[in-house]
Symmetry: C3
């Protein structure tokens, strides 16, 4: 009888322990947020939330470069909202930069942080990775977090929710944390 319980305990714990290294593949936390980028074009200083600050030879800082904007770096401080409305009450700011990095299609490299400051969330989430812009949905890495997102890691699925010419775009970001602490 004791032996049976011991064996039961054995397999119970084998299950528990062996489950640990095989980390869970369902998110331990999930957030869907939108952010809105208005790029400075020389005429919209009051509304612009981002600006071109670097460009390849021959290009300027008020117009995205030819060749799929290859070589442009833009700095941004964009409002984050819970829904897709630009004028909704922001719950934080998306701050960082994007780099257009291909000459024959639209792709970007993103390094940015969501700084959340609302009744629901206090803390930061940092993202880094390649963004093949033309794909409907693309994944980038969530490399760290602070505050409510202390030590978190995960994957963010980005979708272009809307865009208007080369001045406005809105991204939907579905953040799935797989390490939550």
């Amino acid at each position: 009888m004791g032996a049976k319980i011991a064996l039961f305990a054995f397999f119970m714990f084998f299950a528990l322990c062996s489950a640990t290294p095989t980390k869970p593949y369902t998110p331990c936390k999930n957030l869907v947020l939108y952010f809105h980028d208005v790029l400075y074009n020389g005429e919209n200083a009051a509304n612009a939330t981002s600006a071109i600050v670097a460009a390849p030879q021959g290009a300027n800082l008020t117009k995205l470069a030819p060749q799929f904007h290859f070589g442009n770096i833009a700095v941004f401080d964009d409002p984050i909202t819970l829904d897709n409305k630009f004028h909704s009450n922001p719950v934080g700011r998306a701050q960082g930069f994007y780099i257009y990095d291909t000459k024959n299609t639209f792709t970007a490299w993103l390094g940015f942080t969501f700084v959340l400051n609302s009744t629901e969330h206090q803390g930061s989430i940092t993202f880094a990775g390649a963004d093949p812009i033309l794909q409907k949905s693309r994944d980038i890495s969530v490399t760290g977090g602070t505050g409510d997102f202390f030590m978190h890691r995960g994957i963010a699925t980005i979708m272009t929710d809307a865009f208007e010419g080369e001045v406005y775009f809105r991204l939907r970001v579905d953040i799935k944390f797989y390490e939550c602490w």
Copy 2:
């Protein structure tokens, strides 16, 4: 009797195993370091450890931009010291960049690495995240490490320890690793 020991073993291991996914919240390693940034302003080439390399339209590379320096990118190679003295023997270099990314307050986005090379520490620590400069103390993510800091992750608490105009600032960085390997 055997059953009791089995049950004891059961709960013992339950405690041990269940403790594993709930990772420890006390740092497994802690480092306090200072680094010193002297920004090039057109006249201090000999002493400068950093330089503005990108700016928004209309700004130049020897003076931080108006509107809270929004759009400036600075590259740096700053000495790291164990105490807050600029002339102390450096234990390494802080290398990377910062971006001023807000138009209505002072905030930055940081991507940099501590390259430590002393009798005590050999290896690198990489940081990424938002820095709301005006807050007394702010957290950013430690996303990776090499050498003595192989695979480490953690949180760095940054404090502006001193600054002189727009040319010199000194940051105190309290690095708390929660994943140490």
Copy 3:
């Protein structure tokens, strides 16, 4: 007898559980890849895979800056190959940027992603960290991944496999993942 099995179970599980926090130090996955960078110098527009987009005061965008290129930022979209031949069939693109960040030697700060798209690998691997270029072999952090490299972390050992003047260089990247999911 039951007690002995219980004790055996105890130590068995102690071994299993206690092994979990001490993560494995042999890679769970290993990849060796090459990437090839051809820097735009004003005359090689057709072949160039990267371009200088930021420079310190007084420097331009077709020639790397004096003082060990301190302050240059280059954006790249480089082919990745399985061997060291530039004309081998690419298995993906290395996309991101490097910053020359020291005035008295050659060092860089790298932020980039391998976007792999071959029969063997689909997914992205993101790197960040300091690159002391003149060292034969140097380690940087692998901070995240997507697709086949979902949530991966690791260390990449970079070696300069070849270079021609300041226009072409080829890097060998030995990626060792220690967290594989």
